[in-house]
């Protein structure tokens, strides 16, 4: 979410989920909202029922796209040209919010210069959508009093992900669609506590509350609080760690409740790295594919067996409450960390997770007013929440952006790292399905969920399937320059000719054997949404 941090100063949803239903225009891009964020989709549906206009940008004809007033079925990876074209139209048709641009933003001239060099017709051809349709979408968005943009990993999981996010921010600022209630830019977070893990400093370059490790003031603050000296060098990112190979920069890893072998791109590289470590420790509730490679596996307690907090997509910090004791001999991750820390001569004395939260409140300004007793008696609090008197912040950037003025950062089209060619003629995108979650560690344990979606299916257009003599349910061999898997075909006109789609939930069809290592230069987000593959019918299962 580096993109929003640069433009707005804060990389989180600017609105609350409930505000979406009051918007007049909702633009959804790179998000299969009905399947990945059902509650957000429900707000969108409600808004549409009340007369709001829905614009969906998605190469696939998703359920949401079917309900859209305008569905822009763009070519994968052409989000930036589309957003730029929309902005140009907004400028040309005098739909920009001049006052907002003047009072609240900076660097507008650079964006304008770039936009005026744009040939809209040429862009429309790159995008693969008629210019008139783009114009209609731009007009609807540009004229709206209250407009919300929702985006998700369909935007960020590209090599130009950060640039695209910045372009979305540009669009919102240009038309003045930030700062107000029911109006803004909303990145939907993929996992339940991805926001919290970021907030808590589970990132190589920042301490909790996004305080940079390479800024002395922050470092000194944490050194003082923790009573140790700390490194001022930003650390390695996940792919730098898991793609290091035999002689990678890390020789040991400690993985808490993650399954990089399935979730990270280029599985063979990750396997090579993990198996060549001197030491690998994993804590998890199940023996995941990653845990099977470990030297030590700690049995962790599940969310039903511990007390703490999660932070949802709308920055709402809310309680997780213990229902039962940890199963068997399992322990909470907190207990495991504290015991290890004690044995490494840095005792951590916390009686409860509430006490940990007190320390967080002290050190992480945006969590300054978060205490368990307050969260317990409410539906949670949305950060920033500066102190005990503060009621939290339903929407961000009121009166001023977190960084002061919003900054326009123009971006240009950048072709995906790997596009289909003669050898690998199909474009593969990966994502999620409704009934499963992430690497399936938890959701696949549910008999009913697995009955509904029990194996990886490759969505393929019936015309392509016809060319391959593949019927619904037949097995396909799918190959990329990096590997090969087999999976069943699902014939659907949700995907267009030449494009296929599948999920990463299933270890039997580890899609990340195929995906590309290319990543966004700024966010380090892998390009999961585009790689080139070839397909072949398999005669037997």
């Amino acid at each position: 979410m580096a993109g929003l941090a640069t433009t707005f100063g804060s990389g989180a949803m600017t609105n609350s989920i409930n505000e979406i239903e009051n918007a007049q225009v909702i633009l959804v891009t790179g998000s299969n909202t009905t399947e990945a964020h059902p509650q957000v989709a429900r707000r969108i549906f409600d808004a549409v029922d009340r007369g709001a206009k829905l614009i969906v940008i998605d190469p696939r004809k998703t359920l949401l796209a079917k309900r859209a007033h305008i569905h822009l079925a763009i070519r994968p990876g052409t989000d930036i040209p589309l957003l730029n074209t929309m902005m140009r139209i907004i400028l040309d048709e005098n739909l920009a919010d001049d006052l907002f641009v003047e009072m609240r933003t900076e660097n507008f001239h650079e964006l304008r210069d770039m936009l005026f060099r744009l040939d809209c017709q040429e862009m429309a051809e790159i995008i693969g959508v008629p210019l008139e349709k783009i114009r209609a979408a731009a007009q609807i968005y540009g004229r709206a009093q209250k407009a919300v943009v929702c985006y998700c990993l369909g935007i960020t999981q590209h090599i130009c992900g950060t640039d695209t996010v910045q372009s979305i921010a540009n669009l919102a600022m240009l038309s003045g669609n930030v700062e107000k209630e029911d109006t803004g830019v909303d990145p939907l977070r993929g996992q339940n506590n991805v926001q919290g893990a970021c907030d808590m400093g589970g990132l190589p370059n920042v301490y909790p509350s996004y305080q940079r490790v390479d800024v002395d003031d922050f470092r000194l603050k944490f050194e003082k609080a923790w009573g140790v000296s700390l490194s001022g060098n930003p650390g390695l990112t996940v792919l730098e760690m898991t793609h290091g190979g035999k002689d990678g920069p890390v020789r040991a890893m400690f993985i808490m409740g993650e399954n990089p072998l399935l979730s990270d791109p280029v599985q063979e590289k990750v396997r090579e790295t993990l198996t060549n470590l001197e030491f690998l420790a994993v804590t998890d509730i199940f023996l995941t594919d990653t845990a099977e490679l470990a030297d030590v596996v700690f049995p962790a307690a599940s969310f039903a067996e511990k007390t703490g907090t999660f932070t949802n997509s709308e920055r709402r910090v809310q309680m997780v409450r213990r229902v039962i004791r940890p199963l068997g001999q399992s322990k909470t991750d907190a207990d495991i960390i504290m015991e290890l820390s004690r044995r490494l001569e840095y005792p951590m004395h916390y009686q409860s997770s509430a006490e940990v939260m007190e320390e967080i409140a002290m050190l992480a300004p945006v969590y300054g007013g978060m205490y368990h007793d307050r969260l317990e008696g409410s539906w949670g609090l949305q950060w920033p929440c500066w102190d005990r008197e503060h009621d939290g912040t339903p929407f961000l950037h009121k009166y001023y952006f977190t960084r002061g003025r919003g900054r326009f950062v123009p971006a240009s089209y950048q072709a995906p790292a790997e596009l289909p060619d003669g050898d690998y003629p199909y474009l593969l995108s990966t994502g999620r399905v409704y009934h499963q979650y992430h690497t399936g560690t938890m959701s696949r344990k549910s008999t009913l969920l697995s009955r509904e979606a029990g194996e990886a299916l490759l969505q393929i257009n019936p015309l392509d399937a016809g060319r391959l003599s593949v019927r619904n349910g037949d097995f396909l061999k799918m190959r990329s320059r990096r590997g090969e898997i087999k999976l069943r075909a699902e014939l659907t006109d949700q995907v267009r000719e030449g494009e296929v789609y599948t999920t990463f939930h299933f270890s039997e069809a580890p899609i990340n054997l195929l995906t590309i290592a290319a990543q966004d230069g700024k966010s380090k987000c892998p390009e999961y949404k585009i790689c080139a593959v070839s397909l072949e019918k398999r005669t037997e299962g």
Binding site: G202, E292, F310, I324, D333, L340, V356, G380
Partner: protein
Amino acid sequence: MKDVLTTCVYCGCGCGVYLHEENGRVISSAPSKKHPVSRNNLCVKGWHLHDFIHHPDRLTQPLMRKNGKLVPVDWDEAFAFTASELARIRQERSGDAVGFLASAKCTNEENYLFQKFARAVLGTNNIDHCARL
């Protein structure tokens, strides 16, 4: 027999869910009506939130690799070995030779402790998680 309100783990929406416990077993999930996100409904995953909790595949004791195989050990052995390995690598190379992956599925408090452990105990900022996946 009780209903405990907690937060769903299946996506970033963060629905309020009641887990219903009976005889030490969580047997059902239901939405909170007043919760601002769930507002009385759940998606299919939320309704099946309890399904994995008591799954027989749950890990219930520490495992350690011995002769190439993961075998059950007691907590003390697992802790002692892990602590000595981390200490050894910290001493032989540096804390920066250790990488930490935090979790988007664990609580804030646990993530806080985890990064504190990486930064304060191992002295490295090599900590990240799959925020981008």
